[in-house]
């Protein structure tokens, strides 16, 4: 009998399993999405994955370190760690802020950043800040590894370009040279423990004169695949923060959503929601 659960302690071993049994083995990290999916399949009488490959204990996938101006984040780093790790809080506070608002304490202890990307939910609370920060993702298989922009790995709602023998290894993000202000918020059904319908990550640098020097903004569940809101970022550069400017940004975000995503029934709800979220996000980030 083949085992239904494998928990290799090295990356090599994990990749070897995936290479041999990639079609039948499902990668398991925290399980906060996958175990729910398996439960649903069992209840419906559908087949469940014959084996789970638990990668959450592989040390290499749990690493957090700085290298050459970049933050290296292993795929199996949990949201609890993202929320509390001093290095992450200091260097990429928008990611800690997002993590702190994700799920419940119990869920955050299990859920990983790699699993968030693996699930590729349009409003994944890890995906939106990583998108704002232009994260690159390293994907490995037994025979090769490749590095690509995160936004290229996610190909649609719930879809990634991962091959059956590939594993998400880590993320790499450039962190700001000087302190920046940040904001993360989401719109959801219930206060805790709900999956966002839309979320927004903002990181802005103000210079001493009060002018906006740089900005990074991404919104989840707004475009078919994650992408920065460059249209809005462009409006902000070189400007002084102000209510009118931010309102124009809100309208610009809605326009961008219309152009990129086309008109859909959900827009009636999404347009005012996005506009409000952008205005609120910018006001709070800049303290207007």
């Amino acid at each position: 009998m083949k085992p239904s659960y494998l928990a290799p302690l090295t990356l090599e071993e994990a990749l070897e399993h995936l290479n041999r049994r990639g079609e039948t083995v499902r990668v398991l990290a925290g399980g906060t999405d996958l175990m729910v999916e398996i439960r649903a399949a069992r209840l419906k009488g559908n087949t469940v994955p014959p084996a789970l490959l638990d990668v959450s204990a592989i040390p290499e996938l749990r690493e957090i370190r700085m290298e050459a101006g970049h933050l290296h984040l292993g795929a199996a780093v949990t949201f609890h760690t993202l929320e509390h790790d001093p290095l992450i809080k200091k260097m990429v506070p928008v990611l800690s802020a997002a993590a702190a608002q994700m799920g419940s304490v119990q869920v955050r202890r299990l859920a990983t950043i790699g699993g968030n990307v693996g699930t590729a939910s349009p409003a994944g609370d890890g995906i939106t800040p990583l998108t704002a920060l232009d994260a690159e993702v390293k994907v490995v298989s037994r025979d090769k590894s490749r590095v690509l922009p995160l936004t290229d790995l996610i190909t649609g709602p719930g879809r990634t370009g991962l091959a059956a023998n590939e594993l998400i290894h880590s993320f790499s993000l450039a962190f700001p040279a000087a302190p920046e202000r940040c904001f993360f918020s989401k719109i959801m059904r219930r206060r805790a423990v709900a999956i966002a319908r839309m979320n927004l990550a903002v990181q802005i640098r103000l210079v001493d004169s009060g002018m906006i020097q740089s900005s990074r903004i991404a919104a989840g569940a707004v475009f078919p695949t994650p992408r920065r809101l460059m249209e809005v970022e462009g409006l902000l550069i070189g400007q002084l923060p102000g209510k009118e400017l931010f309102q124009a940004c809100g309208r610009r975000a809605v326009e961008a959503m219309r152009v990129v995503s086309g008109r859909r029934p959900s827009m009636a709800y999404k347009e005012p929601a996005l506009e409000r979220l952008v205005v609120q996000g910018l006001e709070q980030t800049c303290g207007v």
Partner: protein, 158 residues
């Protein structure tokens, strides 16, 4: 044939036959027979199935059974090993934080995990720490009082 999973349950080494791709909730309820671990939603949203893994609260319904191999799991029974109530249990009783009791084991374990990390939590920290646990009866006010009450008495036990 089911796999055998060896782990520490409430301080004792146990050996349980259970498929490793099942949930810890299934293992504890159906294979060990521990009914104090409640199944509410089954999908991570209600916290009724909360147990401690290495002392920290997790949802047993989300945890693959294989993950507990060789590790320490604590259920509510583990908080009062010699039949003496834990301050959290006393606090919940005294403050009237138990009505139907369905949410209680999970809430007390979530509170235990919170107090381990933050021995003197503010009201806001308690609300945050227990946000993953739903209670349909009490309205949370008495639960928060119970946790505060227990927080003051925890060191006495040490």
């Amino acid at each position: 044939m089911a796999e055998t999973i060896d782990f520490f349950l409430n301080g004792e080494l146990v050996s349980v036959q259970c498929p490793e791709n099942e949930t810890l909730l299934y293992l504890l309820r159906e294979r060990v027979g521990l009914r104090s671990v409640k199944e509410g939603c089954g999908v991570g949203e209600c916290g009724a199935c909360t147990v401690l893994l290495e002392g920290r609260a997790v949802n047993a319904c989300l945890l693959a059974a294989g993950k507990v191999r060789g590790r320490r799991v604590t259920t509510i029974e583990g908080l009062s090993p010699k039949g003496r109530l834990h301050p959290l249990q006393e606090g919940f009783l005294l403050m009237g934080a138990v009505q139907c009791g369905f949410c209680t084991p999970g809430l007390i374990l979530a509170a235990h995990s919170l107090l381990e990390e933050n021995p003197h939590p503010s009201r806001e920290a308690i609300v945050q720490g227990l946000a993953g646990n739903l209670c349909r009866c009490t309205g949370y006010h008495d639960i928060i009082r119970a946790v505060k009450w227990a927080a003051k008495r925890m060191p006495e036990r040490e």
